[in-house]
């Protein structure tokens, strides 16, 4: 980061926004940042072989992912990027790409479908990426106490659980602030910080 500053360039950081399909990842990103498109065309990995049906197109060795990302520029020459993790199984290979060098992750949960965020939690726990749970309070969704959600998700006592409305900029801001404060706090062990 110092190197970038000495050249007058921006410092950059990224946060992942994860969770099940339709839980509000894109809404969250759009509520607080400028949305821009990103095209990736990556060589197919073992993870997507067998899921992408390549019979009859033997020459195809890449798979295309079109995704959006959020961008927040701060006056301090810092640019913060928000990347939503692709939900479909065939895009799992993108997660490693996005996760390397991330500050941490927000796992969005919908109390009507808590199981949808199990895969995200497993991934971040396995790779030592700090994360918090943000419960998107959909209209009409049952309200639970954070501790009930902790039990439902089998989370340890340290992982913060916050309630939010992903349509509201201030609410999203508080979610991101909670994540950064958690990452800065001493409650995390140093050995949780490497990505395998």
């Amino acid at each position: 980061m110092d190197l970038n500053h000495s050249n007058g360039g921006p410092s950059t950081a990224k946060i992942l926004i994860s969770g099940g399909f339709g839980v509000g990842k894109t809404t969250l990103v759009g509520a607080i940042s400028e949305i821009r498109p990103l095209r990736t065309e990556e060589p197919m990995s073992d993870r997507s072989v067998g899921i992408d049906d390549t019979r009859g197109v033997s020459a195809k060795t890449t798979t295309t992912v079109a995704m959006d990302f959020g961008r927040i520029s701060f006056p301090s020459q810092l640019v913060l990027y928000l990347f939503g993790t692709p939900g479909q199984a065939r895009f799992w290979f993108m997660w490693d790409e996005l996760a390397i060098g991330a500050i941490g992750a927000v796992v969005l949960a919908d109390t009507r479908r808590v199981a949808d965020c199990f895969a995200s939690i497993d991934y971040f726990e396995h790779n030592g990426i700090p994360f918090i749970i943000a419960v998107n309070c959909f209209d009409g969704a049952p309200r639970f106490e954070p501790e009930d959600i902790r039990i439902a998700l089998s989370l340890g006592p340290g992982v913060p659980i916050v309630l939010c409305d992903v349509r509201q900029r201030d609410s999203v801001k508080q979610v991101l602030v909670s994540l950064v404060r958690y990452v800065m706090s001493d409650s995390r062990r140093p050995d949780q910080m490497s990505i395998g």
Binding site: R36, G101, I103
Partner: protein, 127 residues
Amino acid sequence: MTSHEGSGDRWFDREAGPVVRPYALTMGRTRPAGGASFDLIDVVIATSDRMPEHFRPGPEHRRILSLCRRPTPIVDLTSEIDLPLGVVRVLLGDLASEGLVRVMSTQKQPASDQRLLRMVLDGLESL
């Protein structure tokens, strides 16, 4: 960020769809020269070095050079140039190995970088 290309070009591309398969631009290479690894949020800047005589830049090489006269994160560069990330990485590898761009790596363990975290926190709280 403003586009340096005429809007007509982009309209034509989008309307017509891809004319060539993306990795044809890189002559089939899917990894940058010299095994360089470029992260999405690494920052790239064009150097003031002269173009080596043996190097024959394609139009996409020239667009990248033009876009990164100012320090530009790779993800913004990729979004702006509207090419797939893998292709941009290979082209950047060509330019880096000719000394025409420098890529400044970002912190790979940002969760342990209290100074960066403080910058992010201060930035978010000021929104």
